[in-house]
């Protein structure tokens, strides 16, 4: 919570971003900017466009209108720009998406070797250090399928961190986990939040959003309805939709 000082240069700027799937508008003129080190929780009902918004930021979905600028680079079909952006933006997926044919160690070391052109020895040393940080050093030589969901998601976080990204996108990182494994992942994310990395977290974990985030964004029907502090959002949201959403999920925490 040390981000009360006025935000520095925004690292992500989205202006009037549109995204259509056929005739369905997933995003309608979404504008938001995110400053370095900020931890933002993105919440909203399913189908509201929150995941789509996250996925446009590293162009897993191409936006149809508007403009996205990341670390000064305009996101477009230009492959060089795209490569540069994907090096700076890491992503953690709902279903982990670890490479199933590679060991945990290789999973984490692959991108530094291929993309950063690190030597294999250096990359694996770094991977081991990161695995240690998420508490999984002793699992390095296993395959993803041998790990629990919570462990796999911690590996996925280590894999994203191996590229030293400035921004980490989390797409519902705990939604596919058994309840008893949610906390081990949230613990890792909580620690990360204090390291100064920019985090955008699409989540249904309202406790996490309230406690860890600097900012909460509420999506509904492809637009941002609320963009405020966690305190303001959870105690007194402006919109009825947000109030209804909160009363729906409130049973959880």
């Amino acid at each position: 919570m040390d981000n009360q000082s006025p935000p520095s240069q925004p690292i992500i700027i989205a202006r009037n971003v549109d995204k259509r799937f056929g005739s369905f508008y997933a995003l309608r003129g979404v504008s938001a900017s995110f400053s370095e080190g900020q931890v933002t929780a993105i919440v909203g009902p399913s189908g509201s466009g929150k995941s789509t918004f996250l996925r446009t930021l590293n162009r897993l979905e191409a936006h149809d209108g508007g403009e996205i600028i990341i670390d000064g680079i305009v996101l477009s079909d230009d492959l060089q720009h795209l490569d540069a952006i994907r090096r700076e933006v890491g992503m953690v997926f709902q279903s982990f998406n670890l490479f199933s044919h590679l060991t945990i160690l290789r999973n984490v070391a692959l991108a530094p070797i291929r993309v950063r052109k690190m030597s294999r020895a250096d990359a694996e040393a770094k991977a081991l250090a990161l695995l240690d940080r998420v508490g999984l050093k002793n699992q390095a030589h296993k395959y993803p399928v041998q790990l629990s969901g919570g462990q796999q998601q911690r590996v996925a976080i280590a894999r994203a961190l191996a590229m030293d990204p400035k921004v980490l996108l989390f797409d519902e990182p705990t939604s596919a986990l058994d309840p008893e494994m949610v906390n081990e992942v949230l613990t890792v994310m909580r620690e990360l939040a204090h390291t100064g990395i920019t985090m955008l977290v699409v989540t249904h974990e309202m406790g996490f959003a309230r406690e860890v985030a600097d900012r909460v964004i509420f999506f509904d029907e492809g637009v941002i309805l609320e963009d405020t502090t966690p305190q303001a959002f959870f105690t007194n949201p402006d919109h009825e939709r947000a109030q209804a959403f909160l009363s729906q999920v409130r049973h959880g925490f």
């Binding site: 994907r86 998406n97 490479f99 060991t103 399928v145």
Partner: protein, 253 residues
């Protein structure tokens, strides 16, 4: 035996290869001890078996490469490439192998540049490669389609180039799926190579045919050939089973 193959896939592959070579070079010795009509023709059988194995090894390897290239091509976003690959598979699967062998043998020399002469063996190898390549194409395509989309997204998000994504993630995972079907095609190839007799390549079946024509004793001759084919397919399937075990890591069972 299957357990042993699974436990030591590397050694099994090595052993199967070595066994195949020993068998080929040593075949004439035990056969020459057999009574007539087999004994006197031992060298002919051995030579025929060598030709069959060479045809299988060459067409098998080229066929895998063709299968991977055309399998990718069939899934390409580039329409003309997809048409070419579709046409290739359609043409080869829709015509008899015997006809393809004859066609290559008769037509290819007329379009080859001056000074390059194709042996009968080369024509047979080309036709067999093209044939098994078309069948492999569909196996590889099935393998590529079986790779979960999340794996590709994870690779993209890490900044891997499309080529790296293919080589590091898609290809190894799709081959794991395609391998049993590819092994099946290889086992067929061992025996399909006998059609090379039509363009006077003296492979195993042709060798046997000649021996029985001289001796008027078809039954012992064809029994011998059948036994040799069985040993050859066993060697090849042991090899592919070991390869399968080697790639079969990180899988749910």
């Amino acid at each position: 035996m299957m357990n042993w193959t699974k436990q030591y896939p590397g050694w099994t592959m090595f052993g199967a290869m070595l066994g195949l070579l020993f068998f080929l070079w040593g075949l004439a010795i035990p056969l020459s001890a057999a009574p007539a009509p087999i004994g006197p023709a031992a060298e002919q059988f051995a030579e025929g078996a060598r030709v069959t194995v060479w045809l299988t090894l060459i067409a098998g390897s080229v066929g895998v490469v063709l299968g991977i290239v055309a399998g990718m091509g069939k899934l390409s976003k580039f329409l003309p490439l997809r048409w070419i690959c579709d046409f290739y598979v359609w043409l080869i699967r829709g015509t008899p192998l015997l006809l393809q062998i004859m066609f290559v043998w008769l037509a290819l020399p007329t379009i080859m540049p001056e000074g390059i002469e194709l042996s009968d063996f080369a024509c047979a190898a080309i036709a067999l490669s093209l044939n098994i390549g078309a069948y492999n194409t569909e196996c590889v395509r099935a393998g590529i389609l079986a790779v979960p989309h999340g794996q590709v997204e994870a690779a993209k998000a890490l900044g891997l180039t499309p080529f790296q994504t293919f080589m590091d993630v898609i290809l190894p995972q799709s081959l794991r799926v395609a391998l049993p079907a590819l092994a099946n095609n290889l086992a067929s190839l061992v025996k399909d190579s006998s059609l090379a007799y039509a363009i006077s390549v003296v492979e195993l079946t042709m060798a046997g045919y000649r021996v029985q024509a001289e001796s008027y004793q078809p039954i012992p001759v064809f029994l011998t050939i059948a036994a040799i084919y069985l040993i050859l397919t066993t060697a090849f399937t042991t090899l592919t089973a070991a390869l399968e075990a080697r790639l079969d890591v990180g899988q749910k069972r």
